[in-house]
Amino acid sequence: MEISHGSYNQKKFALPVDSEHKATEFRLFSAAAPHMRAFHLSWISFFACFVSTFAAPPLLPIIRDNLDLTATDIGNAGIAAVSGAVFARIAMGTACDLFGPRLASATLTLLTAPAVYCTSIADSPISFLLVRFFTGFSLATFVSTQFWMSSLFSGRVVGTANGVAGGWGNLGGGATQLIMPLVFDLIQNIGATKFTAWRIAFFIPALFQTLSAYGIFFLGQDLPDGNYSELHKSGEKHKDNFAQVFHHAVTNYRGWILALTYGYCFGVELTIDNIIAQYFYDRFNPGGGMLSDFMAKRFGMRGRLWTLWVVQTLGGVFCIILGQVGSLGVSVAVMLVFSVFVQAACGLTFGVVPFVSRRSLGIISGMTGGGGNVGAVLTQVIFFRGSRYSTETGLTLMGVMMICCTLLITLIYFPQWGGMFCGPSSKGKTTEEDYYMSEWSSSEREKGFHRASLKFSENSRSERGRKIGSAATPIDGTPNTYV
């Protein structure tokens, strides 16, 4: 097993890298290929998809008159916009595992662009719902963004990379509230009538989306060493088998827990966006991802899990308070605090996801991302549709549900690092290698398919934190090169 030194690889890459050639530093203002360039390409395309998906709400006052929509039509279209992405995110995860994030995200972005172009020719409540539904599929690029960052950045900075990419992409949902009305006003001033101007306006997000897909295809690269297709052919990367990848994803209980808890941070965030017309421009707060990396440095994976549980539970507490508070000023303040915690919880979740599985990282990311959308649909359908609950009661109940679902994080346990309440296992197979190698059968290992996972295991030893616990070190004792 080779020991990696920064200087050995420095010649090839602009940033310092580890043995898998993943960057160990995150330099925001660089666009160096392949790491930072991929970062910028992925957050920009995710931003474009968010702009397209939420382009209709700011123009609804005009669209609802043009298409003669009722309040139910509008509500249903809003739910459709976020529900499409539930399965799309899981499918996207699979596609990333098999074909690489570059092709997967460029494909999805280009496939959903026609839905945005065709919004211009919608002429009824049903056609409006359909275009919002299919446009919403593009939110699955969240998964390819997270997967790509997890493939290019090492454990030390993966939380930050995931958090900033996700956060800046999410900004698209807020930016579109400014962009679409501006574009619409401009087109109206040029001379189009209201009912035509909004249709023309939709070409802008559609073109933006198409261009970002081109950017990803021509300028992006799946892995530090090349693209999947090249690496598959050269034999450096084993072309995996869907059934195996799927099996290892759905049988890993941690993925399911994270999917459910993500439903109660990101899902809550989407719900709040739909029912309270206020726009926070710092959505998926990068702070969550940075906090995750900071806690991991000192306390390892256990620190990440504890922080996630505390922050998301506090988010639930503030949600309950929000439902109880009476005055406008106080409730805006509470909402700001609540929003910070919810967004941080989203970032913290994706500080844990890259470590749940190496082989099926894509599907696990997809499940978690999809869980967010399921949470949004469920919460809106149960608490915010029809008149069974007043909005205040709905908010309080949503907060209670957040706290209950977040308790599941206490069940997550990594044998090599521990869980919230238990330390790492002291018996038998309890190293990082054992955990990640268990995803490969012995015949697959003989063929050498597991090599990438092996390198990842080595690099993930940083998740033990500063206090090296009772987990056994591997026999060919490679020293921990991280402090």
Partner: protein, 204 residues
């Protein structure tokens, strides 16, 4: 736009607290008739509406002393307000959303009860819905002081429909389809290029 909307809300709230004119406080002293027949369907941007208004002579003389201007609007009938909270009827006139489209704006009120008439084409931004017509008489400050409408107090008779423009154009349709097709074709182009690149690296 969020800031703009916020400021508008603020100013509306301020206006509401300052003015507080309610619909129920208005006297129905105007008689209004309009050209559309009951259940007639007019086309936005094409058909015309002729509105005639006059003072109801059964009221004592001098009731119109404060009337300075007249504004005539298209108002949604209850069936077009159903399930559409943004068209809700509210007594406070500042918050009332029943009448959102102006036919005549601030025309000077001529007190001699001769028939006042105005004809205009239905504007192209009027949505498809069922309507009636209401005229407001305003005082010198622009506040509503009286009204008249083409329908009864239940807003059930003498309603007509307007068919809006679709807003679609053939050129837009063609552009949408072409760009969509171009996106899909680019995708196939990408796959083809990718296959070629990987074959090239294989033969290296």
């Amino acid at each position: 736009m969020a800031i703009r909307a916020f400021l508008i809300v603020l100013s509306c709230l301020a206006a509401a607290t300052c003015r507080g004119a309610t619909f129920s406080s208005l006297q129905q002293t105007l008689i209004v008739t309009a050209s559309p027949q009951p259940a007639q369907v007019l086309k936005a941007g094409e058909d015309e509406i002729t509105v005639t208004w006059s003072l109801n002579s059964t009221f004592p003389a001098g009731v119109d002393s404060s009337y300075k201007t007249v504004t005539i609007k298209l108002c949604y009938a209850p069936i077009s307000q159903k399930y559409r909270g943004w068209r809700k009827t509210v007594d406070n006139l500042v918050k009332d959303k029943t009448c959102q489209h102006k036919i005549v704006a601030n025309k000077p009120y001529i007190s001699s009860s001769s028939n006042n008439t105005f004809t205009s084409t239905v504007l192209r931004d009027v949505p498809t819905a069922t309507y009636f017509i209401r005229a407001y008489a305003q005082n010198s400050e622009g506040d509503e002081v009286a009204y008249g409408q083409t329908t009864d107090s239940h807003k059930a008779v003498n309603l007509f429909e307007i068919q809006a423009i679709t807003g679609r154009h053939v050129s837009l349709d063609i552009a949408s389809i072409c760009f969509s097709a171009f996106s899909i074709l680019s995708l196939f182009g990408f796959f083809f290029l990718e296959k070629r690149k990987s074959k090239a690296s294989e033969s290296k």
